[in-house]
């Protein structure tokens, strides 16, 4: 029943409800699919036995009439979420052997609603990267890579940091996956692999039990193949959590009911500053196409200005490493994970952290430590905080004139492994369209909008007002329908 892995979540829920198949059958098909896509290196840990156990329990619940909103849906979990009894690595050597005794709030919510865990998917180490090439467990290959499986003519990156999530969902090995987004880590890989990814408003999803990268920016979200599926999964992931002080105590709407298709009269902001110099023609073209689609659907495009956009990337690459340098201090070899002994405590720290962290993580710890240091603090960290506030104000102003903002998600289609790798700045530029909303804590979604001249997916990004995921999803679905992208990855389970 390979057809089962190509279903959307909505269709799978339908089929399960109509008893066309069971959660066990759906899960078995996905367990097989997970094996099939092993060449992509999307999974760090497969949990087939747990998946089947959960599927059986799910069928039992459904039989008793206790089906949850995601009952029986097999999903993959980014290996940044702590999962009880299942290794959690953050794709880092330093967490070798770490098996949490606790379950993150977001995954607990998903299991509560009936979802089934297929395994833990690959990512950039500690979510630091835009190509899923910094993982200690090896890079993830995009299912869009051309050529023969395992012998690709060009090994494309799936984007990052949620690259394993994106690859697994795009290659039909999971109906959806959790991602986390700090500066674009859900949206950019979604764009690169032709799927949907939404980062909700900061505070919507609990960060409890998610390995921290940059606490003031980190936010979990779903990665799925349709906007409707994103709405289904987002609803289950969200919710107030008293264990996370930054979690927001607000009712979680049924996002699916927001998908009315009616966007008449809606004002769509088009930020002029996002027409960056050297933007590839096809990126500009897909953006214009998106504006046209929304206009056709009755929305009104308005030009807006986000004047501090040009400082966003620099601001992000000060704030995020600063927080990371502190968040990652706990990996010291003392209590869990890797320990490399040394003659003194200091030696042990140096040996452990030197061996345990990869190059990109070390780079960001160094940057973060530097920008917080006495004498540099005001020039970097404090200035960045001030600019961050300005960026937030820009959005506040803009949303007085519009209801939602439309931009490209990424400045290019997926690139090949080996490209942009010598120059971290080039790599950081991938996040140019996604970081401003992260800094402002706004909801942002990437929706597939077409393919580029290379046949690779292109995504458009929608940004909304704080806690207005509903408008983002509604407009996103209009684009999804108008674009009606039919291209699929050459390699699918």
């Amino acid at each position: 029943m390979t057809g089962l892995t190509h279903l959307t979540m909505a269709a799978a829920l339908d089929g399960l409800a109509k008893k066309e198949f069971t959660a066990v059958e759906l899960t078995e098909a996905h367990v097989k699919a997970v094996e099939t896509i092993r060449p992509l290196n999307a999974f760090i840990t497969e949990t087939p036995e747990q998946a089947l156990t959960m599927a059986k329990a799910s069928d039992a619940r459904r039989a008793k009439g206790e089906a949850g909103p995601m009952e029986g849906l097999p999903i993959a979990v980014k290996d940044l979420f702590c999962t009880k009894g299942v290794p959690t690595t953050a794709a880092s050597h330093i967490l070798d052997g770490f098996k949490p005794e606790y379950e993150s709030t977001v995954t607990s919510n998903l299991w509560r609603d009936g979802a089934v865990m297929l395994g833990k998917v690959n990512l950039d180490e500690f979510a630091m990267g835009s190509a899923n090439i910094t993982s200690h467990h090896g890079n993830v290959i995009s299912p869009w890579s051309p050529g023969e499986v395992g012998n690709w003519s060009r090994q494309l990156v799936p984007g990052g940091s949620s690259g394993g999530s994106a690859a697994a969902v795009a290659a039909r090995a999971a109906l959806g996956a959790t991602g986390t987004d700090t500066g674009g880590s859900i949206r950019q890989p979604a764009a690169f692999t032709g799927i949907v990814g939404i980062k909700p408003t900061y505070g919507r999803c609990s960060r409890w039990g998610v390995v921290a990268f940059a606490s003031s920016l980190d936010q979990a979200g779903p990665m799925t193949r349709t906007v409707e599926d994103a709405a289904i999964m987002l609803r289950s992931m969200c919710g107030f959590d008293p264990k996370d002080s930054t979690s927001v105590d607000m009712a979680v709407p049924d996002f699916r009911t927001a998908l009315t298709g009616d966007i008449r009269g809606l004002k769509v902001g088009i930020p002029k500053e996002y027409r960056v110099e050297g933007m590839p023609a096809e990126i500009a073209a897909i953006w214009d196409q998106g504006i046209a689609w929304l206009k056709e659907a009755g929305a009104e495009p308005v030009e807006i200005s986000l004047p501090h956009t040009k400082y966003a990337l620099a601001t992000y690459y000060i704030v995020a490493p600063a927080e990371a340098s502190s968040n990652l201090a706990r990996y010291d070899g003392l209590r869990y994970g890797l320990r490399v002994e040394g003659a003194s405590l200091k030696d042990m720290y140096e040996n452990t952290r030197g061996a345990g962290f990869g190059k990109e993580v070390r780079r960001r710890i160094l940057i973060g430590t530097y920008v917080l240091s006495a004498g540099y603090y005001d020039a970097y960290y404090n200035k960045a905080r001030q600019v961050r506030t300005r960026i937030k104000w820009d959005f506040d102003e803009a949303f007085k004139q519009c209801d939602v903002i439309l931009t490209p998600t990424a400045p290019s289609t997926a690139f090949a492994i080996g490209e942009k790798m010598d120059d971290p700045i080039q790599m950081y530029l991938n996040d140019v369209f996604t970081v401003p909303a992260s800094l402002a804590g706004l909801p942002g979604m990437s929706v597939p909008a077409g393919v580029g001249s290379d046949g690779l997916p292109l995504g458009l990004q929608l940004l909304g007002r704080p806690f207005d995921e509903e408008t983002v999803l509604r407009v996103g679905q209009v684009i999804e329908k108008a674009a009606a992208v039919t291209a699929t990855p050459p390699f699918m389970a």
Binding site: A90, P100, W208, G209, A212, D244, S245, R335, Y336
Partner: protein
Amino acid sequence: MSYIQGETGDWEIVIGLEVHAQVISNAKLFSGAATAFGAEPNSQVSFVDAAFPGMLPVINERCIEQAVRTGLGLKAQINLHSVFDRKNYFYADLPQGYQISQYLQPIVGKGEIVLDLPDGSSRTVGVTRLHLEQDAGKSLHDQHPAKTYIDLNRSGVALMEIVSEPDMRTAEEAGAYVRKLRSILRYLGTCDGNMEEGSMRCDVNVSVRKPGAPFGTRCEIKNVNSIRFVMQAIEYEARRQIEIIEDGGKIDQETRLWDTTKFVTRSMRSKEEAHDYRYFPDPDLLPLELDAEWVEEIKRTLPELPDDKKARFIGEYRLSPYDADVLVSEKARADFFEAVAKGRDPKLAANWVTGELFGYLNKAGKEIEESPVSAENLGGLIDLIADNTISGRIAKEVFEAMFETGEKPADIVEKKGLRQVTDTGAIEASIDAVLAANADKVAEFRSGKDKLFGFFVGQVMKATQGKANPALVNEILMTKLKG
């Protein structure tokens, strides 16, 4: 002002104190783990305290309330908006790799503490600020020849760091400051002030200067854990600094340690080796916003504090400032005194409490809470004196028995037959016997040797085993001698 005499003249010591006071609360500052002292190592540790991946701090409201209560007790500014920051440094007993503390925006601002000095005078010392922070765990270096073990029970326990202005000028003042602060904290019930168990620790900043000159360079003596050590460390450190300056040297700003066996301060790290803590607001915690009404509510529940109590004791009970100080220094003592004084002569009650009771307690190494003599029983004893059942002298004997057995004074008096003899016939008989046995002395007295009166009283008391009512003895004896 008391100065230190140096070779080049007088020197003044300038002292500021940073006191770390462990907050009384059942749970830690940012986790639900327990805080009891003396538990099995690592038995009171949550995943938050051990800094496991993905764990997040959540503010314990009780600790905030305690800090506000303390701030109010120090007559300090309560900041309705305050911020928790991360103080970053690596150490084995600091699992997060940072301590959550408050840096630029503490919960409590300027306040003051009034010191009661031994000469009866008082002096006000400014409190710069009070902020909340997490305690670290403990490194156990004595468990293994080559390894260090870590106990995280203390990791994450709430501390209040209370910083004074550099307002103190002598070691005695510093000692009085710590004593007074401890007393206030105990009154408020916000810290048990137990320095031996480390629930109160001092960092002492010391510099010296010629009187009237600007402040000198200071040295900080870390983690001094008794009032005696605070005073000794200041004395030593001041003399060390004066010697260096008088020998033509200069003081390097540094962190030092008090060596409790050699009674010297030793350098721990220089200014150059000082950590760069890279403070920044903790992104896991929102700024702390307090409701003014909530603060007012706490204010309404504040107990009477030592200064007010002292004033009341002087006014209401007519006690001397010294007695009042001694009694209010601990709330339990003051409560004990008031229970004894209720409906009785307060001066007599104060004398018995500060004299006899404190003396016995001191000797036995007991706290007032452990006193074998209850306030009720001490009051009963005073009543027995007042109604002439026993004399003051016998009362001391009764008290001794009470302290040993915890029994009621009336029972002891009965059992030991110590009831005062007020039967004039019996007293007269004793006096007659004494006079008869000392006819020569009677003659001497009558020929003018008045001083012998005391001798006769002593003899009568001896004959009656002290039970005779002294007033009656005096009266009858005088009549008979003169007769």
